[in-house]
Amino acid sequence: MTTFTGTGVLLRFSLRRDRVLIPVWLAVNALMVLSMPNTLRTLYGTAAERADLVSQLQTNASFRALIGPVFDTSLGALTAWRVGVYAAALAAAMSLLIVVRHTRDEEESGRQELVASGMVGRRASLTAALLAAAVANAVLALLITAGLAGQGAPGALSFGLGLAGVGMVFATMAAIVAQLTESARLARGLTAAVLGAAFVLRAAGDSTTNDGSSALTWLSPLGWLENQRSFAHERWWVLALFAAAVAVQAVVAYELAGRRDLGMSFLPTRPGPPTGRLATVGALAWRLQRGSVLGWSIGFFLAGVVYGGLTDGAADLVRDNDNARQIFERMGGRNGLTDAFLASMVDMLGLIASLYIVASVLRLHGEETSGRAEPVLACAVSRLRWAASHLTIAFGGSALIMLLAGLGFAAGYGRQIGPVLGACLLQVTAVWVIGGVTLLLYGLAPRLAPAAWGIAVAVLLLGWIGPALNAPRIVLDLSPFGHLPKLPGGAMEWGPVCALLALAVLLVTGGLAGLRRRDLTT
């Protein structure tokens, strides 16, 4: 028996467990990338239009920071520019999830102990996890290469390999982090933070130069991807950087794994306080949700700052392009491009805030199904008070993050502060309707509660893609966000806003009545 014995069995087992997860990640990523040439062709059909776009992009530092520099006017090069960073981030997220799931998650749950007692070498689990990530990334590279080959085979190959390269860099990074922490959740969080840092480094570098040559950009794997210059005289040698990073990180991960006991880590969990100050369910709910509220708050404020800062540039970009302008106007209203852009960004943040409220309301569901709610409700705590503790954070938190987004716009754009802030707060009524629907599902049919995610995603797609597809009014009206006045720029309409508020109140009341009456699920 070698230290790798059993790798094959474990790999097949891992791939079987991920038979839904990996295809979904790959499908989403490939769809995003492969649909882009067509979208770009509709928006910028002629070489002249594209040349015009590129010349504007190259002079706008905010766009370079957000998306990266563009190297050529071909559809392929524009595709690589437009989706590169985001497709790479998706590949990285997929890879780090796969690796942590099959390493630290298994150890933390205790399942690894059972596996390791079988005919399995000491390095088999880590190897199988890395191979599972490698398989997923190889399929991604294949899909991208085949799908983009029409734009030029060398460019497609370079871009596909680059995406897979970023994926594997984060797979091996996750393999190192998984040795350091005892908690799988912390391992995922830390690796994701490295991904975030890679984005920031690249963004900082690209905002100062327009050809990706900044040293900061070269420090980031996401920067390597753009520096491959796919579809624009590819620089193949950049791929060697990915190979080297993957090799070095894998060696470090194996070294660390070989020096520790099963279940142990190099950064042991810090002990907590021996006594506690939590005295109410409200304090408990805040303690459980405060990290997520903080994260969303920072994210929404920064998003406001970034979109606010992009507003003028975006309006200029779109002004000369009929198709793009029409899409913005359908999303944000026909009241001048700047207002239309602001309104559509505010709308988009509102749509994303519905994900926050669904997650936050479903904390109730998680507490109940995990069995943690039962002993709490067996104390002198009524169901309504218990539910109210989490709902305050869900509904209050969604108002807070939209307010912070509005303040972010004020900081990033600096004009129209009042109207934009008002527009952000109006979104809250539609967000609350989504929260109300979630609570109603949870109160009446707790088994169906996770379907609220489906509703939130459907509303999100309707709001994002509906206007681009020029969907009929009746379809857009299915979403509560479709009824909001287009602000800033449009006329304020109190009718629909009050109706949404009333609907939210009704849904919450119905949900709470259901929760009070039903059996607790166990």
Binding site: S183, P271, T275, G276, G371, A380, D519
Partner: protein, 300 residues
């Protein structure tokens, strides 16, 4: 004596399964009441009804003189509950959870809390995700025993504890009784109930099949006797209440209904007893026999 818990004719169905089928239960104030039954008999369902977590389809229930469904919060001020499978919050330390539960009930006795943590050898600084099953159980037990309440409802509370800790648990239960608290102890670990309980209710398929003190229930049981005699035994087979008689030369093994024990001993001593062992009925046998009889009756 007033009753801490009264339940009569409780029915509860989940879809097509009848979890409770006319269950009765009476727990006197100040007693330790054993709540026995095999897995799936409806013990946890009954407890969840008593805590107002489930709503009974029909039947009456009162806990500490209150309706468990409509008046749950007031009743819960005086109740501490330990579930059979304790789940904790990943990021909260054991100490934080103990204090939280105590404050959400009627309050916590700090001295008793420290003493219990010491006796159960619990590290209160560890985070929820790092505790083993037994340690999670200890967190809930310390919180319950240290809480200032009148009624403890313990649902198979020792399932993850090692034998040493089980002993600590048993001493704690005894102390609680001396303090005048009422305890409902659900279990399928029979020796534990035998050791601790004043009275026992046995339930099966959602019904109470027997209730009373252990002495009351012993008439249902048989004592195992094995003896080595000076001469061959005789007349044993004709005695009433003798079962599974096995004679090999001078050796005898038999089971006898406990109320017929005297006659059997007299018959044995006639042949001259060289050695004798008699095993008192365990609750386990009581349990087994009871269900066996019921099943036989049902089969007939």
């Amino acid at each position: 004596m007033t009753k801490a818990i009264t339940v009569s004719g409780l029915h509860k169905s989940f879809g097509r399964t009848h979890a409770l089928d006319g269950l009765d239960l009476d727990v006197e104030t100040g007693e330790v009441h054993g709540f026995l039954g095999p897995n799936g008999a409806g013990k946890s369902t009954t407890i969840r009804v008593l805590l107002g977590l489930l709503r009974a389809d029909s039947g009456a229930a009162q806990v500490l003189g209150r309706d468990p469904w409509t008046d749950a919060v007031e009743a819960h001020r005086r109740i501490a509950y330990v579930p059979g499978d304790v789940t904790l919050w990943r990021n909260l330390s054991g100490g934080e959870v103990i204090d939280l539960y105590g404050r959400l009930r009627g309050g916590l006795n700090a001295g008793r809390r420290a003493d219990l943590i010491d006796r159960f050898e619990l590290d209160p600084t560890k985070k929820g995700r790092t505790y083993s099953k037994g340690n999670r159980q200890k967190v809930a037990l310390v919180a319950a025993f240290a809480s200032d309440v009148d009624l403890l409802i313990l649902d198979e509370p020792t399932s993850g504890l090692d034998p040493l800790m089980e002993e600590v648990f048993q001493r704690c239960v005894t102390e609680e009784r001396e303090r005048g608290r009422t305890i409902l102890l659900s279990s399928h670990i029979l020796s534990e109930v035998e050791e601790l309980c004043d009275r026992v209710s046995i339930i099966r398929k959602g019904r109470t099949v027997e209730t009373g003190s252990l002495a009351d229930l012993r008439h249902l049981t048989r004592t195992s006797v094995s003896a080595e005699l000076a001469g061959p035994p005789n007349g044993l087979a004709n005695l009433p209440g003798v079962h599974d008689l096995d004679v090999r030369g001078h050796r005898v093994r038999l089971q006898v209904d406990t109320d017929q024990l005297d006659a059997v001993l007299r018959q044995l001593s006639e042949s001259g007893v060289r050695s004798l062992t008699s095993t008192p009925p365990t609750l386990e046998e009581l349990f087994l026999r009871h269900y066996q009889d019921l099943d036989e009756a049902a089969a007939r």
